[in-house]
Amino acid sequence: MKRLIGLFAALLFSVNVVASDVAPDVLVKNVTNEVLDIVRKDKDIQAGNTKKTLELVEAKVLPHFNFQRMTQLALGREGRQATPEQLRVLTGEFRDLLVRTYSKALTEFRDQEISFKPFKMAATETDVKVRTEIKQTGGKPAQLDYYLEKNAAGWKVYDIEVGGISLVTNYRSTFAQEIRAGGIDGLIRSLQEKNKTADARAK
């Protein structure tokens, strides 16, 4: 048994080493290509199977996201008044909202071609921006940028910008408005409400 645990720990450790060894631009490229490949081949997803898309995003994309950091960024200074428990619930609800938005965007824009911009970083850097572009017919290519931060578990995405619009900080003034009106709990309720109606629609 002890040996088994040891083996497990070693495995976990090696997985972590591998994850943090992957350069951030390579990580973004691999995940993007893998996910788009699946989406383009899967008939169910193309037919609008929301559940299957969500499962794909959960399995392939989520492990590379840092939702705690995202929630803190969206809250800004208003977040200081939240208790750890409120933060935990808030992070979970916000995560669901972002995952659904991301899945929706993935299905809507699946046929667009994505190109990866040249990337350079110093070996000591722990906070980087990886730039990609979505080709659009009849328009200027849309920027799709990922912000990543390195922690013990490797590089994690903490913000995504589409055409310069941050999917995370774009919530800041809405969140502030909700908190002013009903406190942190009011914001949690609004997010739960939003997620519930979306779930009902998906079924």
Partner: protein, 242 residues
């Protein structure tokens, strides 16, 4: 299709647009809600509601039908055709912003696409390596250092700021389509462009519906971030986050 560049008419058009905007400003003066970027939020929400209603009953259904009926290559041709006309003043704005290289590239695009690209229906210039740009007078003012001013929702045109509304007035005044002498031709082309633009936005629309807690503020904040990004040509200085 006489292009009416009579300065007197342009002057008159600018004057009437200025009056509309000024009126909007004075009407909204009394409604405040605390967001420093959106001092006339009460007024803006009302216009936003009006725009949404017009979109829901009229523009969006037509755009959906258009999208469903036309094959993708035809739709792309229409978007390219209007994009080619727009490239002319994108070039002018790049020149005004002190970017002659980009202005030359924009002019090159118009020349290539109008000829080889058959009246702009095919965007061969992009294939040839001349990338499309996105510029307008609002961005030019921003480049010159003019601040945003308050957020304003303009009837039909949608989100703007005071600066971008001034830009919009100029954009419309010099718009080649809006200056076509034959009124039925002008209106048909303006209508087609509106529907085509709206159809291009249908996918983004679904994502916003999914994402927004309060669609009004989501669209507002997205617009402000987007414009900031555009004024800095895709490389805005990072905003300090606390």
């Amino acid at each position: 299709m006489a292009y009416d560049m009579n300065p007197k008419n342009i002057g008159a058009r600018i004057r009437s647009a200025v009056i509309v905007v000024a009126l909007a400003g004075s009407l909204g003066g009394c409604a405040t809600s605390g967001n420093p970027k959106d001092p006339i939020e009460g007024f803006n929400r009302a216009v936003y509601g009006f725009n949404e209603a017009v979109d829901t009953v009229l523009i969006k259904p037509v755009a959906q039908g258009y999208d469903a009926v036309l094959p993708t290559p035809v739709r792309t041709g229409v978007t390219n055709f209007f994009g080619n006309i727009a490239d002319l003043f994108i070039g002018v704005n790049n020149l005004l912003q002190g970017k002659p290289d980009q202005a030359v590239s924009d002019l090159g695009r118009v020349l290539i696409n109008s000829t080889v690209g058959i009246l702009g229906l095919f965007d061969v210039a992009t294939e040839a390596g001349l990338e499309k740009h996105e510029e307008d007078f609002g961005q030019t003012f921003g480049r010159w250092g003019v601040g945003n001013g308050a957020y304003v929702v303009v009837p039909i045109f949608g989100p703007r700021t005071v600066r971008d509304t001034a830009g919009l007035v100029l954009d419309v005044a010099v718009d080649p389509l809006a200056n076509i002498g034959n009124v039925p031709t002008r209106n048909s082309l303006l209508g087609l462009r509106l529907v085509d633009t709206r159809a291009d936005l249908l996918p983004a629309d679904k994502v916003i519906e999914e994402a927004a807690l309060d669609k009004y503020s989501y669209v507002r904040d997205g617009y402000l971030q987007r414009r900031r990004n555009l004024v800095h040509d895709g490389n805005p200085p990072r905003e300090l986050l606390d």
